[in-house]
Symmetry: D2
Subunit: 284 residues, 4 copies
């Protein structure tokens, strides 16, 4: 298939690579052109604008940082191309994009999962478009959940999922701060958490927090703040109070204001530890 | 071994049974005597007071509802018996009990896990006492984590673990309320949560919340409130702010005030759904 | 002076009347035309559009419900007219309006204060424009605080002031719920609050909450929610966490979701009383 | 009247002095004896124990730091003496003290108000005892509110009043942080707050926060934390969720953990400013 891939950053680059490996013809565009050019050696055509990339593409995939970037990049796309939005964007933008040939297909997984074709994809949109794009999704992930025929519902699910992750980080951060200040061996507490949840996500983040390895960021605090804000905006529009999300908003906002916006979003635990008067490894 | 088992309720009865099955001589006591007598057919000696149960016991196990019950039942125990406290009690009481021959060994698991010998035990206390009691713990659970030589640290870990569970319930409750109000199919969202966490605990509680089956309670709201309060008390004594725990306190307190104290503690999700203006299956 | 007055609702109508009484020539516009026509008997010219009202006005005053209404009404104003924005709008919109001849002059006070010329006005914008509009402000209020030369700062102050009021309502609501549930005579508690704060605002709202007279609304819940959201948006843009504002967001959102959006915003106290399991006068 | 006065600290000393000035015979006791001896020159008899002070006293007044101090000092009082408890203690202790000849009479006001006889007294207990003690209260304050015949209700009201003050501090702290970070002149915002509330309490604390004069403390953070905790305990016992009080608990706990327990409780504003990334005058 002829594909345009807009946004070849940490997530987008390995995804575009997997499409190339699956035999698709991929034109890539990235605002910082070097990041796109790195894919030329693997067979990508490097375009100088999103519109040029999408010129004769059956499907245009966007994988960008936020609403503004998606709006900027996808205005003026040819009307024939199917836009498959994989970025984490607002429910409100997804509703507007649905005026065109559009499906939402946001993903769960960090860059290493993108490289290993282990993303999980939440897809929603008109059935015919979803079917058309299915081979692409299969080239990118380990599983697809079809949420329904309204694209924005996939984005709502994605925001809900990210909220559950952020909330887990808050929870681990608070309980680890308590254990550390009380002098309980952290590795013992982590052993119990792992025995209790038996979840690779808890194991992974529990280890990061126990070892205080918040840099380099797998997913940065400022993106965590952005996603919590998108969840709160969606919840506000639906009339649903989410007090734990409000708490996350307050904490991420403060941590970013304190200059930690580029650390991993699990550094929420560091913010909480410092509020307990603990000296942290890479402290304030 | 000669064992006294104080408190043969939902959790204690199957635990005492497992000790009998492992060949120990068990004297049982329960305030509501009938619950103890149910174990006589399986070989237990039914005692008329905790002290009488513990008369010639090497180890006295307490498995009771709260601090007051443990204090009442274990004052006046013979000084030779080792007290193995398995209830979820305050850190502060555990500190005081350590004046005697005492180990803390609280457990993770609901009554079905107790029956199936699948509890996970967090044990702490003097090494010699722990070793002495190890065969008993092995007869009760699928694993033992030794937290250290100060009994209260096991209680701290237990309170921390229960906090992480309660916080997960809040998180699921808020996100399910959002999905339901937005018209996102709940089973789709649950599918994503399960794909993301790959945790039996999320799967189990996610199902309960999706189906709104809050009765009969596996673990009642009012006990959830009690445990969150114990965590907050422990955190307050250590000087650790736990805002998510405060949030749980507020919500459990309100839900109990609204008359739902006997529902499963996952009915937090129901409280949150109602606050979103949703009509719930077994609503207000 | 020749004045255009856009928005003659609960607040705008008495304000326009005071300008007429002060001898100004006032053209009025309101989307629901009848509300504007009520002012014709007092000498106002009734216009059929904001632009027609502003045709030859030295100053155009807007007093509307929200950002969208202000944007709609004031796009296409003649470039000569000074726009004096008195609505409670976002900081972000105020920044954009400053591209034209614009001052912000939001007010403190409810409709009765507007009628009695007892509003307090927070004004900001270029000094020359402020001076030009000063006679109008003097005809409308009991005092003027000049915040500076950037219009949006007056809006920031207004949002901060409304936040302090909403927070007072939460505080009174929680403490009144405690007193009522504990059986402490409410009038005694109110006596203490009045003795402590010696503030007409506490006295006024304390009385409303003690008597549970939430209808008709002086200022509706849904407007309270709107203003708290504007404060949170402004704080988020500045990188300032406001946990009490987040709490207010959660509570107002829930109360509106529960169908109380049209009650007075002090009915927050009712929401809190119900969460305590209290039966309220005009309950759920 | 023959009076025993237990606890001659910052508050107690000027109160005892006012009783001497009113012509009463006052025996004083303080754990740090020097503080009691300072009153000898003004006619007080210095006792070496609370019991000795109360030996032949009609009324024994306690004005101490917390529950433990009151329990310690007032156990073993002669049964004839009326105990007038003026400290801020728990509702639960007040309930227990009511087993004896006891009235609660906690006060509103800081040490300067105590010196100037400007305290406001909340009194509750059996009517005959209240009447007996009325002349003493009149010698100490500018007004008395009789709450009822159950002593603990006066303590409940006192805890509720302190909560409203602490909540005001949080509110001012958050809004001042926003204004400072946004570059809005603080004195302008304070002018609006004063115009809005017209309350000496807002004016006083607003000035402290605007000038960041948190030392010396009029009322220390650690006492603020204590009082918020007493309010939460009382509310928990009644089944009343107080989310704003939970927020205060979290913030005071963190501020004390960060080493600011001895600053004025209005330094909550400093904690909030720092969380906004602001550099404060006497910062971290």
């Amino acid at each position: 298939m002829k594909i345009a891939f807009i946004g070849t950053g940490n997530m987008g680059a390995p995804m575009a690579r997997n499409l190339l490996l699956a035999g698709h013809a991929v034109a890539v565009y990235n605002r910082t052109r070097e990041k796109a050019e790195a894919l030329a050696a693997e067979g990508a055509r490097v375009a100088s604008s999103p519109q040029e990339a999408a010129r004769d593409a059956e499907v245009t995939i966007s994988m960008l940082a936020n609403d503004a970037a998606v709006e900027r990049a996808t205005s003026g796309l040819p009307s024939e191309t199917i836009h498959m939005g994989m970025s984490t964007i607002s429910v409100e933008l997804a509703r507007r994009l649905a005026a065109g040939k559009y499906i939402s297909a946001p993903v769960l997984g960090r860059p290493d999962a993108a490289a290993a074709r282990k993303l999980w994809i939440m897809a929603a949109g008109p059935a015919a478009l979803l079917e058309h794009c299915r081979p692409l999704m299969e080239a990118l992930g380990r599983g697809i959940s079809v949420i329904g025929d309204e694209p924005w519902k996939a984005n709502m699910v994605k925001l809900g999922a990210n909220f559950t992750l952020a909330s887990m980080l808050e929870t681990l951060g608070e309980s680890f701060a308590l254990m550390r200040k009380a002098g309980v061996p952290i590795e013992k507490f982590l052993e119990i958490i792992n025995s209790l949840f038996q979840s690779p996500v808890y194991a992974n983040y529990g280890k990061i927090i126990a070892e205080e390895k918040y840099e380099p960021a797998g997913f940065a605090m400022r993106l965590g703040l952005k996603d919590v804000n998108l969840a709160l905006a969606a919840a506000g529009a639906e009339g649903v109070a989410m007090p734990a999300a409000s708490l996350l908003h307050d904490h991420y906002l403060a941590a970013v204001a304190l200059g930690r916006g580029d650390r991993d979003w699990s550094a929420l635990a560091q913010f909480l530890a410092e509020n307990a008067g603990l000296r942290t490894v890479r402290g304030a």
